[in-house]
Amino acid sequence: MTDFSIIGKPVAMVDAAGKTTGAGKYTDDLSVPGMLVGKILHSPYPHARITRIDISRAEALEGVIAIATGKDAPKTYGILPVGHDETALAVDKVRYIGDNVACVAAVDEATADRALRLIAVEYEVLPAYFDPEESMKAETYLIHDGKPHNLEKDYHHVFGEPEKALAEADYVAEGRFIANEVTHAAMEPHSTLASFEIDPHTGKPGRLTVWSSTQVPYYLQHKLSLVLDMPMSQIRVIKPLVGGGFGGKSEVIPLEIIAAVTARKAKAPVKITYTREEVFWAHRGRPRTLIDMKTGVMKDGRITAVKARVVQDGGAYCSYGVVTILYSGALLGALYDIPNIQYDGYRVLTNKPACGAMRGHGTVNVRFAFESQLDELSAKLGMDPAEIRRRNLLKPPCITINGLRVQSYGLPECIDQVVKRSGWDERKGKLGRGKGLGIACSHYVSGAANSIIRSDMPHSTVNIKIDRDGGVVVYTGASEIGQGSDTMTAQIAAEVLGCSLGRVRVIAADTDLTPIDIGSYSSRVTFMAGNATLRAAEEVRKQIALAAARKMNCAPEDLVFREDAVYKKEHGAEVAHSTKDSGASVSGRVEGQILRGSLQQKRKEEGPKDWMTFEEAVVAAIDFHGALTGTGSYAPPAEARGGKHKGGGVGPSPAYSYSAQVAEVTVDEDTGEVTVHKVWAAHDCGRALNPVSVEGQIIGSVWMGLGQALQEEMIWKDGLLMNPGLLEYRSPSAVESPDVEPVIVESVDPEGPFGAKECSEGSLAATIPAISNAIYDAVSIRLHESPFTPERVLAALRAKRNAKAINMTEGVDPTAPTRFREHGGSLWFRGKGPERHPLDPSRREVVTESGGDD
């Protein structure tokens, strides 16, 4: 049935008004009586042993209530069970500039800041590793004990016979691609408020409530329980509005644990909100990735094999690293039909902030390499780049060579759509000097088929309660982070129950109220929490139908729920209209909801009816069943859980989204500047439950991909981040952002809720290679390193002409503060940051000058 009343209609998000009026509350907007401000002392060294921490002077400061250090919470944790390598505050060692050393809880921010400066920490500085390939050679001064060669994890997968297939290929392309590090930079800096209640029976601190900007409230509850040594039942995690995540809040960030640890020590509520600079240090973004890739094709364009060696610069802790390196390999499959794959992945530790999950987790950088190489091969073959992609399509339903099950597959239509809309056939190669078009494809999981913590529990559970007022309350653990999770939930519930959206209230992500859901990551919410909502609503509808059918003298299956009414099938649409006109139901009031005696009396007199209002049906159901509640849960089917090989648990998903994009660019050959004019982005999301949201997600993904393609990059100098500010990080503004034409393709997945799949991440990965391929079309240079800054473009242009390379940063030494100050880099300014970098030469002046004010 495609005749929906709410699904597929563009609706404003259910929480839109709170966001546009400023009434909606994010974590940092909250306060509780007696709340203290927490401030964290960070490490100024990339790798050092802590020999002594003296907090006595800081503690003596008026207004300082408590200071927590590593010994207050020495238990290790980590988002992955295999990666418990972090402590909330450093116990013996710091591993990156910005690592957490101590936390002050004070009456106000100024006092806390003053106290930080009074904490004396003695460090024994150790040699540090900043380059993953250098780090892999390390024999001594390892970043973590038990990780020889600073290797977090390596995987080696061979499917089919890649060597043989490459030898037999007509054409082979080989090259190294580098994708530099990027970060989420969500607009809301991380914030956590932790508060203990006094237990009435023991009179001591008891239950803990934590409000936090998180994508994963249940994982947070779990890790808090682990580190604080408290039962999970004593911890309540509430997720207020979250100002963007993109993966940066999809794991437990140190401040979330530090706030609770400090609140326990201070015996008062503590709120910590990161400064923007701290957000950059907290990071967990997309790692710098080195990709050595080799792809073979036959003359007809068929891919014979791909071989990839991937090295990821993971930073100082495991974080999601093991999953990232596995995704990078697994998602070589399931987009095209590739019969032979070899993958060697290395996740390496370095002395920089930990990398983790970021939008398009694991797939983006490798996709950039693969799609660029495919473009290269199409040029070698003299084949149209769109055509070579069409020649390598999967034939679903199928299981790929690396064990991924593909059912719905909208990629062919995605390619057709962007080719048609961009005028590809007529315009490609004919735009004139410096202008070009490029195409690329991508895909992504609709949630991971295997959860991080191995268990048989469902990934999502949803409860629904309907009371006599006819209001539908949906309780879901799914986390709204701006992607429209709550709206999706309300839409599905309303569609199934045939009621208006205004009746549905969504209570989400509060571990005391809502049933468990593993969180908002890997684009799992629509598919998994959506299916759970669907099932819960169907269970409630069944109960209503049973009671209503008795009243109407018909079989429950003969009832239709639509437009706030329940009616017999044969009565169809005119009933739905008459209910609207009667004014009884839509207004939301029915006489006798409470005084049901009189309603029943009235009914008896009238005899059975052909239809009932939603409220009447609800009242009948409650009278019949005693209460009206339903529950639904979702666990991915066993056949979608992937192969049995080591690491085969990452990559499988119940469904994959597909995306194809064409980018139009101009390259200025004098300055090296790349301008993206327009991106046509077709995305197969199964079914668009809320088209305005789906389009928003597609545009947002393309835009974030554009940022990574052209300007965003974390620049490091000996472990120090050179650009820890939104201005210096250079996320595109409205002026630099291209038009994006989103095209929704609906392949209607057999298992998705109403056929829906992922729509928030898959598009991102195609944007970078689409732009790179367009640059090739424009000026015939193949860029192997992202972002495609003017410097890199110019270097490639000069190399093509065999001209001498110009080093544009020649002579700009970041250790020379006079030069660097002009550039930004806020850590280098006096008075900013916890302590100046040891490499900063003017640091020496500070010591002698006493005070050192400018």
Partner: protein
């Protein structure tokens, strides 16, 4: 630092406040007046999430001393809703997907308000230029342009009906 008494006029209401002279307008709004609609997204005036109107001009409250705004009309996002209902721009931002996570939205709303008060019918280029001081990481801005167009149309229609 010793507190001093200042008087601010915020969203049409006079407020007498004892604050430190060094306190930023954003902190006064959020902490002393509990108007948490204005957000802090950075610390150095690079994101625009804290945008408010001071005498009708959009300003970044994170780099403005509260004490310097005495005698001026300050409008925050909380002062935009008219008579308890959404203003046209707020409605349009919701309908057209101009807000996703919503954290940057109050800043954008204030910037757009300031733009439309001086230029009621801006071209897309003018809109892009005006919005370039505000950062959004969710939307890619495209749906905001639609929202702004829709809001202008709604305003004009509203004015036309008011006249007739």
């Amino acid at each position: 630092m010793k507190k001093e008494l200042i008087e601010l006029k915020v969203n049409g209401r006079r407020q007498e406040l004892a604050i430190e002279p060094s306190k930023l307008l954003l902190d006064v709004l959020r902490e002393d007046l509990e108007l948490t609609g204005s957000k802090r997204g950075c610390d150095d005036s690079s994101c625009g999430a804290c945008t408010v109107l001071v005498d009708g001009v959009s300003m970044l409250s994170c780099t403005l001393l509260a004490a310097s705004c005495e005698e001026q009309e300050i409008t925050t996002v909380e002062g935009v809703s008219e008579h308890g209902s959404l203003a046209a721009i707020q409605k349009a931002y919701g309908d057209w997907g101009g807000a996703q996570c919503g954290y940057c939205t109050p800043g954008f709303i204030m910037t757009v308000k300031s733009l439309l008060s001086s230029n009621p019918n801006p071209t897309e280029g003018e809109v892009r230029h005006a919005l370039s001081g505000n950062l959004c990481r969710c939307t890619g801005y495209n749906q905001m342009y639609e929202a702004i167009k829709a809001a202008i149309e709604a305003e004009q229609k509203g004015m036309a009906t008011a006249k007739s």
